[in-house]
Subunit: 110 residues, 2 copies
Amino acid sequence: MSSQPTNLLQGTLDLLILKALSTGELHGLGISRRIEQMTQGTFCVKPGSLFPALHRMEEAGWLSSLWGESENNRRARFYRLTKTGKAQLEVEKEQWAKVAVAMTNALKAT
Amino acid sequence: MSSQPTNLLQGTLDLLILKALSTGELHGLGISRRIEQMTQGTFCVKPGSLFPALHRMEEAGWLSSLWGESENNRRARFYRLTKTGKAQLEVEKEQWAKVAVAMTNALKAT
DNA sequence: ACACTCATATAGCTTCTCTATAGGTGCAAC
DNA sequence: GTTGCACCTATAGAGAAGCTATATGAGTGT
């Protein structure tokens, strides 16, 4: 386990959610768990961060959702990527790469 | 040249400023130029972002500043890292590394 | 005198994330 | 059967940070 969970960098949550959904639909808390798993426990997205983001992203047309039943027989809202959402994932992946390269260069500058 | 400048990820500006000052004192716009140079033009920190950040960081005790004269005979405020600021640079470098690793893992997850 | 660049400063806005809290439902233990 | 717990969604309220736009002043060149 990786010690303490770190706070997100603002602007990375959307990308993490898009990526989490890229392999298939999930419900809210499922997304949260998937992000935790994908990042080896580094990030821990709490409901109060997650749901507003999901609503915002659905509003933006990146996600679509349906009520369904979780693996524990509970009422849950399942989210999946729209076509636009898949495109957005690519955009944000590229942006992240650009930022990461720039930061890396900056940090090793003399 | 790297096409269009990208917006900062919130939370990275402090680190960039600390790093920019790690090789010696600079005045405000000098910091801005140094960041642009360190990141090969990827980031472009405008005055409206920079100065509030500098004031905030000085308030936090990471920077100290003095009025002086720029290389163009202009009144300019020069900033340098305090001891606390140098420590903070290390902290933020580690945090960035952690985040970058987590994001990289997440993005290559299947 | 004028325009231009360098340099700092601040107000107002927006966006995003965090903390805290609340409500509803299935399930198991007692 | 009701108590308690884990699961799932939801929202309010607050705070931090960065962006745009604008203002001010000083030096430089024409």
